[in-house]
Amino acid sequence: MKLRRVSIALVLMLVLVTGMAWAAEVEPRVAQTTQVPEEVKKGQGQPDKEVQFVYSLSPWTGSEYGGTFAPRQASTIYLMANETNILNSLRSEVYYWDITREYMADWFGFKEEVPGTLEILQGGKVVKTVEKTDYVYSYPDGYDGRVQLVVGADAILEFERYNQLTNDYWDAVSAYYDEQAAWQATMDKLLKRVQETGVYAKPEEIPPIPEQPTPPKLYVTSPVQAFVFDLPAGQYKIRVKSPDGTIVEHSEKNLVVFESRRQGVGFQIIPESKWTRPVLSNDKSQVLYLEGRRVFYLKPFHEEEFNQYAYVKMASLHKPLEGLGTKSAWAWVHTEEIVAAKAQILKDGKVIEEIERKPFYVEQTPGYALGYKIVEWEPDPNYPDSAPTFEAFKIELEAKGLYQMRFVDSEGNVIPGSERDIRSVNATTWPLYILPLLPFIIGLAIFFWRRSLKVEQVEGFLPEENKPQTVV
């Protein structure tokens, strides 16, 4: 009875707490998501647009700047700690697109800068004020390469440098076309003379082909004004104070600045036997287990482990359903591929091999077998557009016993978190079924010993009280 009452109380408590948690967590989102389809329904595929104050966000995601925005419905913004993040105050037409379950801002239809100062508060006090400043994204290795954020006057200079390089390039292209035309004219004359005289031109008479100018790799985006700032991890509130001193309506939001739980080095391991099915090793505690002689290719990355909810929300704030239910989950994020490093293989603490990063090419083997082999890639002048399939560190091991692997930087320092054990596995399984019997054998021995104490008694039993007593 008591147990039943306690059980009922426990269940009720569970329901109550869950209900409260649900109300706190789900209810606002339910409101968001239930209100949205109504808008869609009204427009029958042409959603109603609402002019809203929004924050456009370019948060640093670990490897690049992402792009999202915080509509009125999003109450909390997530940003990475101690990284430069970009946030802008705008007005735009916002609508919910049910097909992809996300809020959209019609930047091209209506986009208005909201002037003012960003105030960052903690514990009710303003801890930082940020003015809008110019910024550009600079891609020194081209648009597909790494990105650099340039802020303030440098942003303008960087953009001017880019413009200058581009103009110079176009000037060079123009000059190249002129030189090319001149060269062509000279060559035409020379050809005509040869045809007329039948005498070959001397080599020194042939002008050198003009060299085509190389386009600049640098790409810089147009300068834009926004709030650019970084913050240590913590819970904040933000708002925009307009030039007249008032707080811009709907600009107050929570700001969660989070940091990674762990940093390390993750690996994409490409087995030679199944190159299309790479294996990931994100955690230092993982061991690489092999059986027999194995060849594999490693692509190392710097990585950080973030709370999955915060990370996903940071990059997809405009998607209200993204990341829901992942508050207790953690995820590794590969931030940057490690290129300028060497792989070291160790045995008994001594480096037995040092491996450099090389480009590889997956070559299909001819015939019916439909096989492939992975070969070292070399540039072929006949095919100037050819490229390697991947670049990685090739590890070849006749694994016996225990090895260690690690990566060292150009100065020979071990890159923290890059260490892994490599072990060869003994595939014999029969002893696995013998070992578990050990406790049973011991138990059986004890059982028979204890049983013997009882059996002896029962066999030779003569109840004590039936024996004649000396005293009557």
Binding site: L453, K454, P463, K467, Q469
Partner: protein, 314 residues
């Protein structure tokens, strides 16, 4: 040694023990009697702290149990009616366990001693699971004595034993009592209580209805004295002579035997002897018939009377 003050236990509407006041003196053997459901075991459990009283308190060695729980418990030995034993242990292992629990000095010697008392020393390395009911009962007695307790509370100590076993346990009780141990014995075997106990408490429907020595109980229960007299040549004159004595209520003659009922107010035996002698007869035997405990118990419980002065009935 044990004193209860207004001890009461209620289970819902049921009053199992009602305002119980008993007092067990040092060195005595106190018999606790009562029909089934009278509240004997409930009282014992409250004394041992296994049940919490609804009202009242228990003092052992002058202290309430909570005041010195472990010290008091270490000075009490208990033998319950049913022997709940660790049947996967041998007698020796089990006693060793209890010896360690009570922190008995020189445990092995003590184990040998107490098992010797109950004639189980030659079976100490056998599992208790294989013991007969009687052996378990005797083992229980050994366990209760193991730590040399000052008070022993025995609940039906001889219920599972044959006559030999009963005698053995009775002898142990008497011997240990001579050694200074105090006993509180609850039993339905009235003859055993009568033989062993100095003082008796009778519990009926949760209330203590009598608490006294056996002799006093008898005295208080009997409203007339029955004398059995044998003379050498009985005749009518003898009968008349006896009837004429002040205090004689009735005289029944049967050949040589006279059954004379007298009042309890005064001892008329000398008058009777003189009266018989005056008729020229000789008294061969004169004995007073005494009420047995069983008769006393039945009288008290069936008539639902109380012999406690407090109740105003004597």
């Amino acid at each position: 040694m044990i004193q209860t003050e207004g001890l009461t236990k209620r289970f819902g509407q049921l009053v199992a023990v009602d305002n119980l006041n008993i007092h067990v003196e040092k060195g005595e053997i106190y018999g606790f009697l009562g029909p089934n459901g009278a509240g004997k075991t409930t009282t014992a459990m409250m004394i041992l702290g296994l049940l919490k009283p609804t009202e009242g308190k228990v003092k052992i060695f002058g202290k309430e149990l909570q005041e010195d729980y472990f010290n008091i418990k270490r000075r009490i030995g208990v033998l319950s009616e049913f022997q709940y034993l660790y049947e996967d242990l041998t007698a020796y292992e089990c006693l060793r366990f209890f010896g360690e629990l009570y922190q008995v000095d020189d445990i092995d010697k003590r184990i040998t001693h107490v098992l010797g008392l109950v004639n189980l020393d030659n079976r100490k390395h056998e599992l208790l699971g294989g013991y007969s009911k009687g052996m378990k009962q005797k083992f229980g007695m050994a366990r209760a004595l193991l730590h040399d307790p000052e008070i022993l509370i025995l609940d039906e100590p001889v219920s599972s034993l044959d006559p030999y076993g009963v005698k053995e346990i009775r002898d142990i009780i008497m011997e240990e009592n001579r050694n200074g141990r105090t006993f509180l014995i609850s039993s339905h075997i009235l003859s055993e209580i009568e033989r062993t106990c100095n003082r008796i408490g009778i519990l009926n429907r949760g209330r203590l209805v009598a608490e006294d020595t056996m002799e006093n109980l008898r005295r208080r229960l009997e409203d007339e004295v029955e004398l059995h007299i044998e003379i050498d040549a009985p005749n009518e004159a003898v009968t008349k002579a006896i009837q004429g004595i002040n205090g004689v209520i009735s005289v029944d003659a049967d050949e040589k035997q006279y059954v004379i009922k007298t009042s309890t107010e005064r001892d008329v035996r000398p008058d009777i002897v003189r009266a018989i002698a005056a008729t020229g007869n000789v008294v061969v035997e004169m004995r007073r018939h005494e009420m047995s405990l069983e008769e006393a118990f039945v009288t008290i419980t069936e008539k639902n009377i109380s012999l406690l002065a407090k109740e105003g009935v004597a």
